[in-house]
Symmetry: C2
Subunit: 329 residues, 2 copies
DNA sequence: ACGCCAGATGTAACCGGTTACATGAGCCAG
DNA sequence: CTGGCTCATGTAACCGGTTACATCTGGCGT
């Protein structure tokens, strides 16, 4: 009752395995008669080709490995969705492996991909350049996502945080806001770092007053940050949080304190999560699915022709009523 | 510059492939000296075993295939997260394939899994029992999720919609509500069907007045449904939508019409999406990640010992302020 | 009638691992 | 000194496909 193999089909059709293989792969040089016998045998045996064996002899897997850290839901599903969309369009499967722990665990996850996939999409923000280079199976085309380390050696795609931040600050400046507060994300998060740095620069460029307070990407930290500022009697007319969650926390704290948004204080987030749309918040939309799509696209194209270098993925400002009362929700 | 194989390692270490294989797989019967030479050779060549070849000879892949339809973000990421968590715990990888189109496309997706995975987790709500049986590679252990067709033949796990609905209706009845409205989901969605049927039954059991109006799982349809009821002058004191999105639409329509929630009209959803928590809505929580976890767990356990039958996955009522003003948010 | 060629089919090596079985070395008991 | 045992190691078959190359057939030109 074991699974039928191509040899079983050959025996049943009274032909050689070579002919069967050719017929199944749509070669021209197979007689009509042979083709019929083979189709019949396949149906009778319920034969399904063994993709693993096929991959081995073709040295080609039609699969892409995806290695991600433990991600927040929204990002994860959108990213995978994007990759999947492009993958199924091109006849590839996605082999998923999450990078829970660090170090050795990560190396194993990457190694397990060898011989099962034709390329790797890796997001490993917490890995150093050396660890990463050591862990990546050499000779397996890889593309790095939002990973600053080793960007020179491997093709990579990064979210263009600076561009998003500039768009926000430009927008706030154009609305006449002068005293901006940035609620930063966790210090060990690269996106948070980049957003903070870009904020400093953009504020300097516009000659605005820019203040930075700490946050950790959670709603509560945004709320707490604003309460502290208000309690300290700090003056400001705009809040730009490093992500939407904190911006929502900020929004609630402001409204609880009786501040009018956006008339007195404008609020801007980053990411454009569904909730942001619901509360009509101005934010920076990151088309994550598109990022995944691009990554896969570039990787698969690169399987044919090597294409190194770093690419940026541009986000987009979405203006809603927490900055502009005229913007409808 | 091709990848090193085990034979290269053997040559370099001046040993046979058998010894190398044994050493790499941690067998006891390898001398210390041989082991050292092998470790050195592996390091020098940067050898990484070819998982595909290994799978072929072991007839074991350490991978589980996951075939899902095009799902809503929240569900998808939670489900995959759950499976992944359990998979990595057990040393399995996840091979993902989305089921975009129907029929032949679906069959191909399933076939492509043969020989790359040890088992299949399939969610194919739109496939008939026959199609499904035909498409599933025979001899590949499979577990069906939220798929009514062919539940008898294969092990499966279903969301217990009826239990969730009963909990809601019990809760509303205990609050003294008598005239309930159910905003149903799309007619071709199985969960929507089950929720609607269960609603009819629960309402009958309690001897309540139950009315059903159409919806399509989108926020707007919930809003429209309520507006229509109000315009028609229909009397009701509770709304139970087949999902949270529609419940939120209903909530907005009620508030826009000046109705007080929950004093005049209670509102309940289904799913417990993050937004539901934010608007403090009573709903039925479906622990999707847990569902994924269970599916994988059961499948992998079943690889050892076949365990047929159908299992139910129970959801849980979460009471918030759209039904009970005392419930804090 | 014969050689040549095209086209269908078969044989067997190969992809990169694992492993049953064979071999050979070293040790000890008789 | 030798038979028999243990233990490390090697040889080669095997997993299930693909494919280079060999073989066979029939048709055609001269």
């Amino acid at each position: 009752m074991a699974e039928a193999t191509i040899r079983d089909v050959a025996r049943r059709a009274q032909l050689s395995v070579a002919t069967v293989s050719r017929a199944l792969n749509g070669f021209e040089n197979v007689s009509e008669q042979a083709r019929e016998r083979i189709t019949a045998a396949v149906a009778e045996l319920g034969y399904v080709p063994h993709a693993g064996a096929r991959s081995l002899s073709l040295a080609r897997n039609n699969a892409i490995g995806v290695v991600l850290p433990d991600l927040h839901g929204e990002f994860f599903s959108e990213f995978v969705r994007g990759m999947d969309r492009e993958a199924s369009r091109r006849g590839y499967l996605l082999l998923l492996s999450n990078l829970h722990a660090g170090g050795q665990q990560a190396a194993n996850a990457l190694r397990a991909m060898r011989g099962r996939v034709d390329g790797l999409i890796v997001m490993a923000p917490h890995l150093g350049a050396d660890e990463l280079s050591a862990a990546l199976p050499k000779g397996l085309p890889s593309i790095l996502i939002n990973t600053r380390a080793g960007a020179g050696e491997h093709p990579s795609i990064h979210l263009d945080n600076a561009a998003g931040v500039r768009a926000v600050v430009d927008h706030l400046a154009s609305l006449g806001r002068r005293r901006l507060v940035h609620i930063a994300g966790p210090a060990d998060n690269i996106d948070a770092q980049e957003r903070e740095t870009a904020f400093r620069e953009a504020v300097a460029t516009h000659g605005l007053d820019g203040r930075i307070v700490a946050g950790d990407f959670e709603t509560e930290s945004g709320e707490a940050a604003i309460r502290r500022l208000l309690a300290d009697g700090i003056e400001f007319d705009a809040v730009f949080a490093a992500n939407d969650n904190m911006a929502i926390g900020a929004l609630e704290a402001l409204r609880a304190a009786g501040k009018r948004v956006p008339e007195e204080i404008a609020v801007v987030g980053f990411d454009d999560i569904p909730l942001a749309r619901h509360v009509e918040m101005t934010t920076v939309r990151v088309r994550i699915a598109e990022l995944g799509e691009r990554a896969l696209q570039r990787l698969v194209d690169g399987l044919i022709k090597e294409s190194g270098g770093d690419e940026l993925h541009a986000p987009e400002l979405v203006i809603r009523s927490t900055t502009d009362p005229k913007a409808n929700g």
